[in-house]
């Protein structure tokens, strides 16, 4: 298989170098852009498998770059920024970022997120069966089993789990999930979400208090692993 290509858009040379060393030694090909416009050009000329995007760029805000990229680029974009207030994170995710990591970040964590994001790119959207470790989901038959034992889910629970699993490795914001499952009028009704995530965890997690599939991203949303 070809080495996956990653485009880094970040104005700090130290961070770019650090990423370059890490990514190249982990089998990726690295392209670098030092500002937003250069990043847009490079992405358009040679679309990479994944883009790592900084928010605080000298020429254009990363939020704008993200929006422009999303008009045509549909592979994963990971935001890597020092901004860690949840409004920045939520708006980046709602504008189509796949994931969000704040600086300073741990390299191991970043590599794991990159692997998950690239796996997402390569997933066959149309396959009716998906497997996640101990979980198996049949979207057509609407069945879920854990360790080969069938689990009984309500319709809403199944819809929620499908949304999570189809967006594996991606952070879904509360608003997004509420809109997708309950509809536009319910975007602020987070208590429904809390309750259903709670009951879903009890059914699919080994220990619902230490969830391994449905991970809480505090103040932002959830991520399915």
């Amino acid at each position: 298989m070809n080495k996956p290509e990653i485009l880094i858009i970040d104005d700090e040379p130290q961070i770019r170098k650090l990423l370059e060393i890490n990514l190249e030694s982990n089998g990726y090909i690295v392209w670098q852009a030092i500002n937003g416009n250069e990043g847009l050009k490079m992405a358009a000329n040679h679309p990479p498998e994944l883009i790592i995007l900084d928010i605080g760029l000298p020429d254009k805000s990363g939020h704008e770059i993200l929006k422009e990229l999303r008009t045509w680029y549909n592979k994963s974009i990971i935001i890597l920024s020092v901004l860690n207030n949840e409004s920045d994170i939520v708006s980046a995710l709602d504008n189509g970022a796949t994931d969000y990591l704040t600086k300073p970040f741990r390299t191991g964590e970043l590599l794991a997120r990159i692997r998950a994001a690239i796996k997402r790119n390569q997933k066959d959207e149309n396959s009716s069966i998906a497997i996640f470790d101990d979980l198996q989901i049949d979207y057509k038959a609407r069945t879920v089993s854990k360790n080969n034992n069938l689990i009984k889910l309500t319709l809403t629970e199944f819809k929620l789990l499908s949304l999570f699993t189809k967006n594996e490795g991606r952070v879904l914001t509360h608003h997004f999930i509420l809109k997708e499952i309950w509809g536009v009028g319910y975007q602020l009704e987070t208590q429904y979400l809390r309750v259903f995530v709670g009951t879903l965890r009890k059914k699919i997690e080994d220990n619902p208090n230490k969830p391994e599939h449905i991970i809480t991203e505090s103040r932002v949303g959830y991520r399915f692993n």
């Binding site: 949840e86 300073p104 309500t154 319709l155 809403t156 629970e157 509360h174 987070t190 208590q191 429904y192 809390r194 309750v195 259903f196 709670g198 208090n209 230490k210 809480t216 505090s218 103040r219």
Partner: protein
């Protein structure tokens, strides 16, 4: 007492209202004199009016007092100095007395104003000095808490660079992990400072949302257990707890800081107990340990910025508990510290919060 309380410039009444009060008091006092003290003679009345002006000078601003002085002089002249009901004064002695009355009343008002002004300046100076003292404490503590980890990082990196071939694998790994610990500490310190400045500058805006506190507590505990603590953290969730409307991010910080505090100041293998409950429409959170607890004076200062318990190991920021207090109070809640019956430290948080009991929705 009343006079003392009202000293200073922060009168709650406007100058206009003060002028009205001043005029009313002078008129009332003159009326009282005409009823009671007429037999005593108009000279005694002058003294009583002068006293009234002096009392007003203690309580009111300069303009209303000047008004009182002028008004009382005119009233004295008009109603009391013979011939009464005219501003006309017959003999030289009375004229002299009237002029002296006027001057004394004015001087009285001006002197009192100057005294109060001087007091205000002294108070301002003291406040400024306190601010500078606090600022210095802050700078000292800051530079210490930032430089210690930086010294570790720079030192470790130098050691690795200069002894590349001589360093054993064990020592090399040790230095690397020291760099890791110091950087994490530095990062946390920056985070703490940002939070503290958000509290201090009033930039803290709560973003309340429905919050599963059991989940929140478990996730905080999990982060600590993953980092390899030897302490035993006990938390038995109350499954009947409703959702609480709280700022999840801030509460996470609060619980994190309290647990971190308990871990830092108790020996390895200590037991830390956590509980969460709903009592009279309040979210109640408790964390207690079986360590040494606190002394009276420590309890008094524990939530102060940059307060560190004497003779404890370095590494804390002195901000963790101040942030806890700031975040809890931002929720209109309060935090209490005491020694538990068994002697260890116990922190209790109580926050009034909206609740939602829709835990068992109809399975749609």
């Amino acid at each position: 007492m009343l006079g003392k309380m009202k000293l200073g410039k922060s009168h709650k009444y406007s100058t206009f209202i003060q002028c009205l009060i001043s005029a009313a008091v002078v008129v009332a006092s003159a009326a009282l004199c005409s009823l009671l003290f007429m037999p005593l003679g108009y000279k005694t009345v002058a003294l009583i009016l002068l006293m009234t002006v002096s009392v007003l000078a203690i309580m009111l601003d300069i303009l209303p007092v000047l008004l009182a002085a002028t008004l009382s002089a005119l009233i004295w002249n008009f109603f009391f100095i013979p011939p009464v009901f005219t501003f006309h004064i017959d003999n030289t002695e009375d004229l002299l007395m009237f002029l002296m009355y006027f001057v004394i009343a004015l001087v009285n008002a001006v002197l009192m104003f100057k005294i109060r002004d001087a007091e205000q300046k002294a108070r301002d100076k003291e406040e400024r000095e306190n601010a500078i003292k606090l600022y210095n404490t802050l700078l000292n503590s800051l530079s210490h808490e930032m430089r210690t980890p930086l010294a570790t990082i720079i030192g470790a990196i130098d050691t690795i660079k200069e002894n590349q071939n001589k360093l054993s694998k064990i020592n090399n790994d040790y230095l690397l992990s020291e760099i890791e610990i110091a950087s994490t500490r530095l990062n946390r310190q920056v985070e703490n400072l940002l939070n503290m400045s958000r509290i201090e500058t009033g930039m803290l805006k709560l973003k309340k949302d429905w919050c599963d506190v059991n989940e929140l507590i478990f996730s905080v505990i999990q982060k600590f257990t993953e980092s390899g603590i030897t302490h035993k953290v006990e938390f038995i969730p109350n499954e009947n707890l409703p959702l609480f409307k709280l700022d999840e991010g801030l509460m996470e910080q609060v619980i994190h800081n309290l647990l971190d505090n308990a871990i830092q100041y108790t020996s390895a293998n200590s037991i830390i107990k956590i509980s969460a409950d709903l009592k009279s429409e309040k979210f109640e959170f408790e964390i207690s340990d079986n360590g040494k607890g606190f002394s009276e004076s420590e309890i008094e200062h524990i939530f102060e910025k940059f307060y560190r318990i004497p003779n404890t190991k370095t590494g804390g920021s002195g901000l963790g508990l101040s942030i806890v207090k700031g975040f809890v109070e931002a929720h209109n809640g309060n935090v209490l510290v005491e020694n538990s019956k068994s002697g260890g430290a116990k922190f209790s948080i109580s926050i009034p919060a909206e609740t939602s009991f829709i835990m068992n929705l109809k399975n749609e």
